[in-house]
């Protein structure tokens, strides 16, 4: 069936409000009598709290309250685990240590909150923070991953024997046997380091406890309003119906707004109840660098075993994963890394051993990519090294190892982030890669252009990197679709929205079923009063899981519409069509009735209703995938390097993406562009510099460099569609795709550009300074 709305470049429903400054963000909430919070945070990464004196702060005019851990009494509790620890499987170690609302005994990372001031204004609250006298005894900090596991290392959590937070081994086939047969075994140490998500909007919470109605309303920049509501109700001793959590317009999420609970997220509602006053806390950018979660620190010791013809016989990876001071997010990231270590390749023998490590650094939870970029970086780096050592073209060696189309669904025989077997549902990889090669003109560049440019003294390199992305994971989402008497359609779903265009793509899905204009579908996301079942927006799952739930609900409403219209128009259902907000008889279009009229008729004020029928044209449905859908893509890039200054210029950038059914190409392209820009940041600009004391040295946008318009190339986007068999729409997620292969691609292209140097890049992120150091080392080692 040709589609009328799905797959079209529809302009976004949400834009006019955003473009005119009329969209509500959390910091825009103003309530009479509202108070403002500011936090005292630790300057030390590791310290014992000896004493705290808040008396001067309490006396400052305009200060309403100051709370410490002591003041919270019984209400002081570590946060709940966000992702359950792995089920007790053989040989799995997992020590759950969750973040605390305010430091009670010792500080475990710089920026950890020690006290909160509630005052008439944020300015006064910050003044009062400076009035607090706090005595901290600095302790040796654990910053380096390897050192933290050494015998005798200072402990982040004193009750544990070591800084090991978790340990897990996954095996498939027999790596050791494969290694025996190999013609080539590559052994390397590969390191990835931390970055920030750096959404343009910092976090924020407004909590309003209304004593008279006994009702708590919370505006929160969360990606997961429903779990926040449920968790708040449980912790605060309220019924879930007494708590409404609203995630209004949110200025970018990228993962860290999915942490539950941030200490502030529990404290501000708690304080609002204590004081019976509305309270606002808006994170500032400095706090964001210390208190919002981060990602990507891992050390890998890897081995790749290959045959002479470049076939991968096996992969072994022993790695350390930095979880920061606490581990509420369980094993999600390292499991994602393990699930992407084999990339899009058919690898029969695999061993991966991960040790998750506590450090005195900010907590680690998923950031766009969530462990996947690390896995892809490892395998792609190893393949580049193998290609060089075996004298095989870098494209050819990949082609030889891709999972063939007939192998899907491809069972990987390891477990994924949901502790379920990792299965790649569908795919046809080579045509995607081929398209990227064609778009960038690979052969022509390598054979003609590159030699010519090199002869001119230019350092130009090409890279081509395929990757997979596990997306659209469960458990489920739901939606309620209602045709209103106006003929417009109202949709409520539980996920939050942070710029992905849900108000448009979801409307397209509904319009497809009900034949209304996309602009006549009003979507509400992230308001627990409107819909209170669901989990949240993460793991590139919004369009897949919530999208299919909306599709399911809209399909049921369509059946209800047809059933009722068939009676009223006295025409069999098969002869009816839904077009332009009407139900009409296909070959007699003047014989019709509007959806609005039908909605009225479906909800009569008088008269007998047939037993067993439901009022209105409304349906609620849920969708839970059997397992996650796996997308595939390939990025290609031509880069020029000034080998004297290490400054780069990206000459071409190509992405080809297969994310199944495309809902809206305009929005899809935007998602990819944004992902690539974060990937470019990860590859060459962004790095959180922690010193050996766990101090962050670049906690500002002047020193943490996110790409601006002048660093970004124009990105050419190609599509291939292999629909997923796991859901009716055939969609796969794409939100994180743009980010995943970029560091691997950069390394490849930079090595290729600096063709006359023996450069081997085994780390990400890079920077001009680091590249210079690598080249100096290369020169010394010659």
């Amino acid at each position: 069936m040709t589609k009328k709305f799905i797959g079209k470049r529809v302009k976004r429903n949400e834009d006019p409000r955003l473009l005119t400054g009329q969209a509500l963000f959390v910091d825009d909430v103003e309530i009479p009598g509202m108070l403002h919070a500011a936090f005292l945070r630790s300057d030390y990464a590791h310290a014992r709290l000896l004493s705290i004196d808040v008396s001067a702060a309490r006396q400052r005019p305009g200060v309403v309250a100051v709370f410490t851990a002591e003041d919270m009494g019984e209400d002081w509790q570590p946060g709940p685990p966000l992702v359950s620890p792995p089920p007790t499987a053989k040989d799995v170690i997992f020590h759950s240590r969750r973040q605390v609302p305010l430091v009670k005994d010792k500080v475990r990372h710089a920026g950890e909150a020690i006290a909160v001031v509630i005052a008439e204004s944020r300015y006064i609250a910050e003044d009062a923070v400076e009035d607090i006298l706090v005595e901290l005894e600095p302790l040796e900090a654990v910053s380096d991953l390897e050192k933290s596991l050494q015998e005798g290392s200072t402990l982040v959590h004193d009750d544990l024997e070591s800084n090991l937070a978790a340990h897990l081994i996954q095996k498939k086939g027999d790596y050791e046997a494969a290694r025996e047969k190999a013609d080539l075994v590559i052994t390397r140490r590969i390191v990835t380091d931390r970055g920030a998500a750096a959404a343009m909007e910092n976090r924020g919470i407004v909590a309003h406890w209304d004593e008279k109605s006994q009702h708590l309303t919370v505006w929160d920049t969360t990606q997961a309003p429903i779990p926040i509501r449920n968790g708040l109700a449980a912790r605060l001793g309220l019924s879930a119906n007494q708590v409404r959590v609203i995630a209004p317009f949110v200025g970018g999420g990228f993962g860290p707004k999915m942490m539950m609970f941030y200490p502030e997220e529990m404290l501000i509602p708690w304080a609002s109840m204590k004081l019976s006053r509305p309270i606002k806390w808006i994170e500032d950018r400095r706090e964001n660098f210390y208190a919002t979660t981060q990602e990507r620190g891992q050390n890998h010791d890897v081995e790749l075993a290959l045959s002479r013809d470049g076939h991968i016989l096996g992969l072994k990876d022993v790695f350390l994963h930095d979880t920061g001071a606490y581990d509420p997010y369980g094993l999600t990231i390292p499991l994602n890394t393990q699930c992407h270590l084999m990339g899009p390749y058919d690898i029969e023998n695999f061993t991966s051993e991960v040790s998750v490590v506590f450090t005195n650094k900010t907590l680690v939870t998923p950031v766009r990519g969530a462990g996947r970029p690390q896995g892809i970086f490892i395998i792609e780096r190893l393949l580049d090294i193998a290609a060089k050592e075996l004298g095989i073209d870098q494209v050819e060696i990949r082609k030889r190892n891709l999972i063939p189309p007939e192998a899907f669904p491809y069972e990987h025989k390891i477990i994924d982030q949901a502790f379920a077997p990792l299965v790649l549902d569908s795919g046809n990889y080579w045509p995607v890669m081929k398209k990227a090669l064609d778009m960038i003109g690979y052969d022509q560049f390598v054979k003609e252009e590159q030699p010519r440019l090199r002869a001119e003294g230019k350092y130009v390199g090409i890279g081509i990197t395929p990757f997979i992305e596990s997306t659209g994971v469960g458990p489920y989402e739901g939606a309620r679709v209602t045709v209103e008497a106006s003929g417009k359609v109202f949709v409520a779903t539980g996920v939050g929205t942070q710029g992905q265009g849900h108000f448009t793509t979801f409307a397209q899905i509904v319009a497809e079923q009900l034949g209304v204009a996309v602009s006549d579908v009003r979507i509400v996301t992230g308001d627990t009063t409107e819909f209170h079942w669901g989990t949240g927006t993460f793991a590139s799952r919004g369009a897949v899981v919530a999208g299919n739930a909306i599709h399911a609900s809209a399909s049921i409403v369509r059946q209800k519409v047809l059933k009722l219209a068939c009676k009223i128009l006295e025409t069999p259902e098969e002869e009816l069509e839904l077009e332009c907000g009407l139900v009409r008889v296909a070959d007699t279009p003047h014989k019709s009735i509007s959806l609005g009229e039908l909605a009225l008729l479906a909800n009569p004020l008088r008269g007998a209703v047939e037993p067993g029928t439901e009022p209105g044209l409304e349906a609620t449905a849920y969708f839970g995938p059997q397992y996650g859908a796996t997308a595939f893509g390939t990025h290609a890039m031509i880069i020029e390097i000034d080998p004297e200054t290490m400054m780069i210029a990206i000459k071409r950038y190509i992405t080809v993406e297969d994310c199944g059914t495309v809902l809206n190409p305009l929005i899809l392209e935007g998602q990819i562009h944004g992902g690539v820009s974060m990937g470019i940041g990860n590859a060459y600009y962004e790095k959180l510099h922690f010193d050996e004391n766990g101090q962050l040295l670049n906690a500002s946008f002047a020193d943490y460099l996110i790409p601006s318009a002048t660093e970004m190339p124009r990105i050419e986007v190609g599509h291939v569609e292999t629909t997923s068999p796991l859901n009716e729409l055939g969609t796969k997620g794409v939100g994180e795709a743009g980010t995943i292969p970029v560091p691997a691609l950069f390394s490849q292209a930079i090595e290729n550009a600096l063709y006359n140097r023996e450069l081997e890049i085994l780390e990400t992120p890079l920077s001009p300074n680091r590249l210079f150091e690598l080249l100096v080392n290369e020169e010394k080692s010659r």
């Binding site: 300015y123 601006s708 002048t710 660093e711 300074n769």
Partner: protein
């Protein structure tokens, strides 16, 4: 990130401003464009108890030529005004070339010439450029005024000769002699960032096309604007061949500067960049000098 409280004065004349400064001494801070001061106040890294705001002093904002063909800039002239001023383009091409490289348009619309100089950030372009151009600054206090050459004004990291009760009110930039050429070269992570290293070069050829003077002033290469004295000496009287330029760049990078290490660049990388940029800047400046008969 909200600033601590302060006492605020917004005088409309220089005299009035000076009397506030005289009264409050070290407690007071002058607010010019505020594009460096206010971020530091928002981070509460500085908490002046008194701010004397110069933004309402109309007499401090001007660009005009002086008798000797040079340029006079009032301290409160905004970067944006300097950037688009045709007189600047004509009389001070190096300055004209420099302006768009300072931060972003939103900063240049507020930031001021005198503010940038008084702040004395060793990474600031105007600091090094004003030294390279042999500028002079007029400082005024309640007891009178004095002229200070740019190369004596900057005495260390964020430190100048300004007394707490003085204001830098004007900068004078002399005209460039004939057969002169200039260049500003920078390497920055993103174009609008502070440069990892930069260099402003001004060279003059004599009638025989030999180097009469070559002044290079580096930014982000030490505690202040770093003048490459030894490199200048090595070029004096030389034909500006590529060899001579290379040698001078090498001297500048290894002997004339004193860069530090930070998260963006090690001292070693900065010296390397200084060498590359010095060579490129000298090449461009000499080329321009040869054209500038």
């Amino acid at each position: 990130m909200k600033p601590a409280p302060f006492e605020y004065y917004a005088p409309t004349t220089i005299d009035e401003a000076l009397s506030h400064l005289a009264e409050h001494g070290y407690d007071a801070k002058v607010l010019a464009g505020g594009q460096s001061l206010i971020p530091m106040m928002n981070f509460r890294l500085v908490q002046p108890s008194v701010l004397v705001d110069l933004n309402n002093i109309a007499e401090l904002s001007y660009i005009h030529p002086d008798e000797s063909g040079g340029l006079r800039l009032g301290a409160m002239t905004r970067h944006h005004q300097v950037e688009v001023d045709p007189l600047v383009a004509e009389l001070a091409p190096l300055l004209h070339e420099t302006m768009p490289k300072i931060a972003t348009s939103q900063i240049r619309s507020r930031g001021t010439f005198g503010g940038s100089l008084s702040h004395a950030d060793p990474s600031a372009e105007l600091v090094s450029v004003s030294v390279a151009l042999d500028g002079r600054f007029r400082l005024r206090g309640q007891n009178g005024e004095r002229w200070v050459p740019a190369n004596e004004f900057f005495i260390g990291l964020f430190t100048t000769l300004l007394e707490p009760d003085e204001i830098l009110v004007e900068a004078a930039l002399p005209s460039m002699p004939v057969r002169s050429g200039c260049s500003l070269m920078e390497v920055a992570r993103r174009p609008h960032d502070f440069a990892l290293v930069g260099v402003a070069a001004v060279v003059t050829l004599d009638e025989n096309k030999l180097c009469q003077q070559a002044r290079m002033v580096f930014l982000s290469a030490g505690d202040g604007p770093m003048v490459a004295h030894k490199a200048a000496e090595s070029l004096k009287g030389q034909a500006p061949t590529l060899e001579a330029i290379r040698a001078a760049a090498e001297i500048a990078a290894s002997e004339d500067i004193d860069p530090g290490s930070d998260i963006h660049a090690t001292a070693e990388f900065r010296r390397h960049l200084a060498n590359v940029l010095a060579r490129r800047a000298l090449e461009q400046a000499f080329e321009r000098a040869a054209d500038n008969k």
